[in-house]
């Protein structure tokens, strides 16, 4: 494993820890995960990237007890999801790729309540939480709408509301934007940005521009953690990017190809501005 991790948060309580996780899908030769170890502190926002089949989705499912490892172990806030999946699911919510297949109920408010119903929450509490979860994702006023009439982006926000309603401390996002159009993506990412710091988040994606403000990025390839770095280190490491099938967002690629230093990254808009300023200075000189 690469140890040039840059500045990684190493204080605060552990939220997720995995030790030597290994897993193979039945009937396959190549392991989906082998020897995966890492830790995430409470409140961290961690990106998980890597090529298809690299083990990202397998890892996401393992943290929620949907899959149990062949060997090794994981803990989520002290609970082993392989041993106590129902306990783990109270602490970890997973947002899946296709919101269409995550929504259970024909009406919006019923779907948000689904997880609460499963936990036996009292009705008054459900009402309050459904309302605040819908507010958190900007779907106030959608309570009585039929689920299937929502746009893709709205559906994913609804799925997220269903997770937030049960107030998990850890959120695992498994390529949550891949089925969304650009406005849907932007909407979801804005909401996720708002969760930064309040929740521990593991965000699996192909798109590095979604991780500009992550605290740390795990690179998974061939079932192994290839590297664990802060975004700016990953973005300026052409070899690491290339070997793991990662493509820089256009603005970052432009900055690199123009030989500009990558400034402190926060959003692609700010970055564009920074590049412009830098270029302006040089042109004047």
């Amino acid at each position: 494993m690469d140890s040039t991790t840059g500045e990684v948060r190493d204080s605060g309580p552990l939220a997720v820890s995995c030790e030597n996780l290994a897993f193979s899908y039945p009937g396959t030769e190549r392991p989906a995960l082998s020897n995966v170890s890492f830790e995430v502190r409470a409140g961290e926002y961690v990106g998980v990237v890597g090529p298809n089949g690299g083990g990202k989705s397998t890892l996401a499912r393992m943290l929620n007890g949907l899959l149990a490892p062949d060997s090794g172990s994981s803990r989520v806030l002290g609970v082993d999801p392989a041993v106590e999946p129902f306990e783990a699911r109270k602490k970890v919510g997973v947002l899946f790729q296709n919101p269409e297949n995550s929504l259970v109920a024909p009406f919006v408010e019923d779907d948000v309540a689904f997880g609460l119903e499963n936990r036996g929450a009292p009705v008054e509490e459900m009402r309050v939480r459904v309302r605040s979860a819908l507010r958190a994702v900007g779907l106030e006023g959608y309570e009585k709408r039929e689920t299937h009439t929502l746009s893709g982006g709205e559906k994913q926000c609804l799925a997220l509301a269903g997770l937030l309603a049960v107030e998990p401390e850890v959120l695992v996002l498994d390529e949550p934007t891949s089925m969304l159009d650009p406005p849907g993506k932007r909407g979801l990412l804005r909401i996720l940005d708002g969760l930064r710091g309040n929740k521990t988040v593991l965000h699996v994606t192909h798109h590095l521009e979604e991780l500009l403000w992550a605290d740390r990025i795990l690179v998974l390839n061939e079932g192994q953690v290839m590297s664990e770095v802060v975004p700016s280190v990953l973005f300026s490491d052409a070899r690491l990017l290339g070997e793991n099938g990662l493509v820089l967002p256009p603005v970052l690629r432009l900055a690199r190809d123009l030989g500009l230093d990558l400034p402190e990254i926060d959003s692609s808009e700010e970055l564009a501005q920074a590049i412009l300023k830098e270029m302006g200075k040089r042109v004047i000189r």
């Binding site: 929620n64 129902f86 297949n101 024909p106 119903e117 036996g120 009705v123 689920t147 299937h148």
Partner: protein, 263 residues
């Protein structure tokens, strides 16, 4: 895209009828369906029709929706009327075509019976137009829950129905999409005899079924990950409350039905 409002489709507005407990509405419709067979006089039937009209107005469901009858219903209504008119030989002869005679009594009876069928359909349609699918099945689950003692899986059935309701529109859209995608690959669906036509549907049905299984898989995973473990220890977001209003509504229904039968 726009779907035309037809009879029985849930019409989401606020009305006194929408606010009733679904169990009250199910019980009322069930008693009316049974009771209508005992309404045997024209004034009785007219009373029921007027009462229904009043309730429809209260429900704020547009009356127009009740005029759009499914073909099956129309067929049954027309068939009932014709059958009675042609085969019942009461009263004066109105028409005589040799083998076929239409008697005044038969014609009246035909219209009466057809109208009764129509009333039944309208009542059921009003139930589903004013009761959302979730509420409807919550109500049914509750009314059926005594059967749990006989090991009837009422929670599971209700959950299945809820999911089916959730996914029917999704699968409809998918079917339409796959049909167009295969048409773009040169598939024709209206050529040849019945066997060839059935065969030509395979490229649509197969991916639809495969897709449905994939959805079921993902949905099961999502439900599990959201903490679903069957009906045990589960609470309900939609709490059913059988209140004074519901008792009043049921009582009024029964009174009108009794009057209709008595007339």
């Amino acid at each position: 895209m726009g779907v035309s409002r037809s009879l029985g489709r849930f019409y989401p507005v606020d009305s006194p009828l929408h606010a009733l407990d679904p169990r009250a509405k199910i019980l009322a419709v069930m008693s009316l369906v049974l009771g209508l067979f005992f309404v045997r006089s024209i004034p009785g039937l007219v009373l029921m029709a007027v009462a229904l009209l009043a309730v429809v107005v209260m429900s704020r469901v547009p009356v127009k929706a009740f005029l759009k009858l499914p073909r099956v219903v129309l067929f049954i209504v027309v068939f009932t009327a014709l059958f009675q008119a042609l085969f019942s030989r009461q009263g004066e002869v109105l028409l005589d075509w040799g083998l076929l005679e239409v008697h005044e009594g038969g014609l009246l009876m035909g219209i009466f019976l057809a109208f009764r069928v129509l009333l039944l359909v309208w009542m059921a349609g009003l139930l589903t137009a004013t009761t959302g699918p979730v509420a409807l099945f919550d109500g049914l689950e509750d009314l059926l829950s005594p059967l749990r003692r006989l090991r009837f899986p009422s929670h599971e059935v209700a959950m299945m129905v809820t999911i089916a309701l959730r996914f029917i529109p999704t699968l409809q859209e998918e079917a339409a999409k796959i049909t167009r995608a295969q048409a773009a690959r040169g598939a024709g669906f209206d050529e040849g005899g019945p066997i060839r036509r059935a065969r030509s549907l395979l490229p649509v049905l197969l991916p639809l079924v495969i897709g449905a299984f994939r959805r079921a898989d993902e949905l099961a995973e999502a439900m599990e990950s959201r903490g679903y473990r069957g009906g045990i220890g589960r609470t309900r977001y939609r709490e059913l409350r059988f209140g004074l209003r519901d008792i009043a509504a049921l009582t009024v229904t029964m009174l009108i039905l009794a009057l209709g039968i008595a007339l």
